[in-house]
């Protein structure tokens, strides 16, 4: 609720004002990507492969071209040949060749739904008709979906030139394993030998999807002089610009990307699938072209999160101190090498003080869409294994699961994830808050079980630009290049208003296009309130110094004799009797004191801190059907400091529920022919309102000393603990440990039956 609730010392930080873009979004006025219309716009459509693996012998588009109303057709031949080049997307890197091949198959299709051709026509009906007239001659190849099968030496190869990185000596044969990584500390075998209790198991889960409700869509308009406009929904207009320019081999300054309102992204909208294709269609037709995915296309041909198979062995002393962990991780990264297990490696074990560990990991390519980021990408999978095993260990040792975690939790000063030491993290505080929470000691009903799990996410910093300027009446404009995916306009306005000591309503925030402001990294990695926020604060501080100087000029005093407070300049010169000049008066006179008052800040901060979360779940399992009901759920998280309390809670609740869905229902299911069997919300079942209780949140606030208001980044860590939290609760309720997700009724039912 937006009741005034200011924290001591702050006038806006921690309050809950209505978001500045709110009215547009509750009245249907906000323009999301499928809503945008350009004059004379054509409708595009994409032909997609029905085969998971096939060589494209030829594509005949002549019949489609002859259809009246068809204005352009694009195939792989229209894409420039690219040199292998690593590019930064979001905070990770990818090969531009793979980005291009995700837009359009080149030579081979690698998954069911892979794009093979695109059409632009005067109507959607004609475009759809034209797709049916395109003839593709496929040589169907054997496909592979399963991790183990893909790792076999005789498995069908997706990429004939792919050799495993990270093994010595370098393999002389290609395989479906692009990456091997490892990290060890101490002697695990010896440590586990001393353990009073050991837990060992194999954990698995299939690919899942971000499931944003707005399908990908864009409009592109590419003029004959080489200049282009793209309107799309994205977490990062600059990444769209860079990837589109790189895929097409054109100058970045020639593309102006305007980010429209975005209907959810969760990491999935930090790349391009449609934009380069729409650009080529536009160039060929000479008209703006819209491309929009259907829901089925989103599931078949965007970037899901990896499925995994993980072997984990862990041991502890009788009093619960962790001795060693032996971890083998296989991440199914889909059709292209991706950042999978590399992240698994640093998000697996570093929240506990292990005496020793051995971690080994493999990425495996298969005939499924290439993975992309999904909220704390690749961390939930390994955390599920680790936190399930910790839970089992606690019960084996007869130690309370939170107590066991407390005994081993890392604290400030412990070794960090990249060497060095951990800063002001709040893990122990979260565990203590969980232990003290009434939920943790509440009685359970019949067939109910309680689970707990803990996790962390590294968070991110990175480059951002923000501009702040004064209108002539002293109201304030903030401009950033960070798309608002969940209320960040509100948090930027709060931080600017707090810095300038003016009312929240006097600040208005605009998300600019890529030609109107300097580079900002994507809205992702839980970085926006932290990094873009720092840029906003810095620009606002510059505005204050300019205003102080202008006030000094108006008063004819030294600038050292001017202070800023309460939205006004205060004259400290005793001769001037403490005069004050409000922001409005300074703004009204700004053109008589030196000209417009505006400032831009460009930052690249890296003093962010990781976020920690501890979740508690009560589940009830129906022994007759295996159906699980979430009865109660509490998410505790160190947020550093909440800038807008509601949107912080909202991030925690939304992340927790995505994690609950991942644990209970969600899965990519492929049929024998390698086709996605459930490319719709009916069969890919995300949680609905009636599946859930209220999600209680507890925000622990241990401020980040490196951020003026203590921000740490909240968006991602809440999706990490739910998988194990729910699985631990279900295992208690069902009386049997289940190590495979999702915990669908049939799986839970057969586990109950098999325990006898």
């Amino acid at each position: 609720m937006n009741a005034p609730e200011a924290k001591s010392g702050f006038r806006h930080v921690g309050t809950r004002p209505v978001r500045p873009d709110g009215i547009d979004k509750v009245t249907g006025k906000a323009i999301y990507s499928p809503d945008f219309v350009a004059p004379g716009m054509l409708q595009g459509a994409i032909l997609r492969s029905p085969h998971p693996h096939a060589r494209i012998r030829s594509i005949d588009t002549s019949k489609a071209e002859a259809l009246p109303g068809v204005k352009a057709i694009v195939t792989a031949d229209d894409f420039p040949t690219l040199k292998s080049l690593m590019v930064t997307m979001g905070e990770s890197a990818g090969n531009i060749i793979h980005v291009s091949r995700k837009c359009m198959a080149q030579g081979k299709v690698l998954y069911d739904g892979h794009a093979v051709a695109a059409v632009a026509a005067t109507s959607a009906v004609i475009a759809a008709e034209a797709l049916k007239l395109i003839e593709v001659d496929y040589e169907v190849l054997p496909h592979v979906i399963d991790i183990d099968e893909a790792m076999q030496p005789d498995a069908p190869l997706l990429h004939e030139d792919m050799v495993t990185e990270g093994v010595q000596p370098r393999p002389d044969k290609p395989s479906n394993i692009p990456t091997y990584v490892s990290k060890t500390k101490g002697d695990v075998a010896e440590a586990l030998g001393r353990a009073a209790a050991v837990v060992e198991g194999r954990y698995s889960m299939p690919m899942v999807h971000q499931g944003y409700i707005e399908p990908h869509a864009c409009v592109a308009s590419w003029n004959a002089d080489g200049q282009a406009n793209i309107w799309c929904s994205t977490q990062g207009a600059f990444v769209v610009r860079m990837l589109t320019a790189s895929v097409l081999g054109i100058s970045q300054a020639d593309i102006r990307v305007t980010p429209l309102e975005i209907g959810g992204g969760f990491g999935g909208k930090t790349t391009v699938y449609l934009e380069p294709v729409a650009m080529l269609l536009s160039r060929k037709s000479g008209r703006p072209v819209r491309l929009a995915m259907t829901r089925e296309e989103v599931f078949r041909a965007s970037g899901p999160a990896p499925g995994v198979q993980i072997d984990f062995k862990i041991g502890a002393t009788a009093d619960g101190y962790l001795l060693g962990a032996d971890l083998s991780m296989k991440y199914n990264v889909g059709a292209f090498p991706g950042n999978g297990v590399q992240v698994g490696l640093i998000t697996a074990l570093y929240h506990y003080r292990f005496e020793s560990f051995a971690m080994h990991g493999w990425n495996v390519v298969t005939n499924m869409p290439g993975i992309h980021a999904y909220r704390a990408p690749c961390a939930p999978q390994v955390n599920f294994a680790v936190e399930s095993a910790i839970d089992e260990l606690a019960y084996k040792l007869g130690i309370d699961p939170i107590e066991l975690r407390l005994k081993n939790a890392v604290v400030p000063g412990d070794p960090g994830f990249t060497g060095g030491t951990l800063g002001e993290i709040g893990f122990v505080e979260c565990l203590e808050a969980a232990k003290a929470h009434p939920h943790y000691s509440a009685p359970l009903g019949p067939n109910q079980g309680r689970g707990v799990a803990a996790s962390y996410w590294i968070n991110a910093g990175g480059p951002s630009v923000a501009a702040v300027s004064l209108a002539e009446d002293g109201s304030v404009l903030v401009t950033t290049g960070s798309p608002d995916i969940g209320g960040s306009r509100a948090s930027m306005a709060i931080m600017a208003a707090e810095t300038l000591c003016i009312p929240y309503e006097k600040v208005r925030v605009t998300i600019a296009d890529t030609s109107a402001i300097g580079f900002s990294m994507v809205t992702g990695g839980s970085r926006t309130t932290y990094a873009t926020g720092k840029a906003v604060i810095e620009a606002a501080e510059t505005i204050i110094s300019i205003m102080k100087a202008r006030a000094a000029g108006m008063w004819g005093v030294d600038v050292a004799d001017v202070a800023w407070g309460d939205g006004e300049a205060i004259c400290l010169d005793p001769a001037k009797d403490n005069q004050r000049l409000p922001i409005g008066k300074i703004a009204a006179r700004m053109n008589n004191t030196g000209g417009p008052i505006s400032a831009e800040a460009s930052v690249n901060p890296h003093d962010y801190l990781p976020a920690f979360g501890v979740h508690i779940c009560d589940s009830e399992v129906d022994p007759e059907t295996g159906q699980t009901t979430i009865v109660r759920y509490t998410a505790i998280q160190d947020v550093g400091r909440a800038i807008h309390a509601d949107y912080c809670e909202g991030q925690i609740q939304g992340g927790a529920v995505q994690g609950i869905g991942w644990a209970l229902n969600e899965a990519f299911i492929h049929d024998k022919a390698g086709r996605l069997d459930n490319p719709g919300f009916l069969d890919y079942r995300v949680p609905v309102c009636s599946d859930l209780p209220m999600i209680d949140t507890v925000m622990v606030e241990k401020p980040n000393p490196a951020h003026p208001f203590g921000v740490k980044g909240v968006g991602e860590v809440p999706i990490v603990p739910p998988l194990a939290t729910v699985a631990n609760a279900v295992s208690r309720a069902a009386g049997v440990r289940i190590r495979d997700l999702p915990l669908s009724p049939d799986r839970v039912y057969s586990a109950i039956k098999s325990k006898g």
Binding site: V26, G28, I213, E214, F681
Partner: protein, 162 residues
Amino acid sequence: MTKQFVTTTVNGDTAEFICEPGESLLDALRGRLQLTGSKEGCGSGDCGACTILLDGEMVCSCLVFAAEAEGRVIETVEGMADGSVLHPVQRKFLEHAALQCGFCTPGFLVATKALLDHNPDPSEHEIRYWLAGNLCRCTGYDKIVRAVQDTAREMRNERKTA
């Protein structure tokens, strides 16, 4: 197939459009009438982002043929506010931060209005089941349910004092 000419009432005003026989009402609203407040999340009746009222009944407009709108009364999110005065449920969604990306919001608002028209005092259970056809991937539903409860409370009080 020949195109069809449709005359209907949208948010109190007469609206006319020409459509394909197979065209959905959602496509007609968005494409022909430029009412893009109703969203398409799936096109198959599974997400509720396209929810509208047709003769007062809540429907997924993606599952209704545009031609079926002939002579009917349609209400969409664009018609909920009374001029510049928001409907209580719109206001409460903002006050409770019941939207993050806002893409599901039009559907939830229309569905909530329909719920409260039918049942001014729904329990949490009734709210959750009524809204089970509307997917939200951002919020986890907590703040949505609270906003609906608060709207119901306020509308009941207003009725009492009226």
